[in-house]
Symmetry: C2
Amino acid sequence: MVVFAGQGDARRSMALLWRTEGPGDARPGPKPGLSVDVIVDAAIAVADAEGMAALSMRAVGERLGRTAMALYTYVPSKSELVDLMYDRTLAELPAGYDPRAGWRAGVTSWAENAWAFYLRHPWVLQVSQVRPVLGPNEYVMLETVVGVLRATGLEAGPLRRVVGTLFYFVRGAAQTVAESRQAAAATGVSDEQWWPARAALLGEVAPDFAERFPMVAWLESGPASPPEDESVPYLEREARKTFEAGLAVLLDGIEATVDRAGT
Amino acid sequence: MVVFAGQGDARRSMALLWRTEGPGDARPGPKPGLSVDVIVDAAIAVADAEGMAALSMRAVGERLGRTAMALYTYVPSKSELVDLMYDRTLAELPAGYDPRAGWRAGVTSWAENAWAFYLRHPWVLQVSQVRPVLGPNEYVMLETVVGVLRATGLEAGPLRRVVGTLFYFVRGAAQTVAESRQAAAATGVSDEQWWPARAALLGEVAPDFAERFPMVAWLESGPASPPEDESVPYLEREARKTFEAGLAVLLDGIEATVDRAGT
DNA sequence: ATCGATCTCTTTATGGCATAAGGATATCAG
DNA sequence: CTGATATCCTTATGCCATAAAGAGATCGAT
């Protein structure tokens, strides 16, 4: 499920995000028992605990002792609620990186922080990036990356593309781990159990596997990374290694681009 | 919506994928009016035309003049149907690349083909990559990439990570365009209409934008790539540029990794 | 020729979802 | 106290996957 942002009334949505709210004067009607803030908090709690698929208006309402429909007084629709969740959560990301450490160190720290962030809130990976939410914290995040990468001396156009590439990579890498955990939680079958079972079936169904796919067989023959921490499941260890190695590849590539541009 | 694969009976699922099917002898009961193949084809047609969100058992059945429940005679569940769609579609990807052209050219062609493939079948990007389907064509695809990259001389472990990184990147880049088109189709608002409208709202709600986010302001000041083809919308042009530039960065990075390993 | 087994396909729930519509009630300004 | 307005609820609509059960077709065995 890819969740799209900003389907509803754009003006109302932006006002909620940027908190340019109306008067708040005393007005007729019962006192509000809830607020946008507590609803967004409850929704984030639901999504963190049970994933985006379990985020329903009913589930959020239940957590607040209300029905699903009560939320519509505060929030125009689920789409806007997701926007608000997204921008609120983004505020967690650290914003300042020491420019004296150089852009390589800066990008590395930023990527590590983003990785950890996405794994803390895996549902964020399911919020679509096109037609962005355009909330304040999304811009803070962008401001931060660009601030770090500005030191490369790249022009605005090329830098935009480097930033995009970094996002593709970090999101993809984090998504692997997030989906692995989600699959394990949803099915009750860990990767450690799932893979050998499937490998056995594969052997039954394609006994000539090694001859048909020699490259794949060779690729999988390579030693798995040794478990530094036994408690981390196999797939997560591999994904973490891929994240580290891929980031190094990207940084080398950016350096090559910078060198070329500098000449 | 991320769709997970292989939730059902694993043995049945693998048998369907690898076509190690039962007898087919004359058996009692009415002649089957459908087949797994025509169901998978119809499902792919639905997903191609209207996206993963519109892929319902009812929609597929309707296309075949049946009810949703009729499909369950052939396919254990929607999850297995998606597995079959995925592996069938993957067969479209070209498999052979000229080794004499070198791995850089090979990877570039492969990435171009994958990019075009994902844009032809954007719903494929919503099939989860962990707990893979393990169908034959998925392995053909992997065999192909590894065949191209083997020429780098990298060991199996590091090569696995390079392959993973490439996939993250290509999928992410393609997803941007896919989601952009999906958003435009779903809302009836093109990016060309959406962005200026939102930018105006942003100006209302955050009049001090340029001071608050100087880096972002600078980043967006850079010239957009000139439209080589007027018919391609702005965001797609940018995404395409990001794909090309990011791929170049990745290739440079891989080259640096190879050089280091060779020493 | 007929019977029982088996298979295809349908109809009808069940329990989920977002949200439109309408109504009960609380709280304000006047 | 009245009328306006706001909160929150119940109910209904139309989606979704799929469980359950039954109608009818078609076979092998008799």
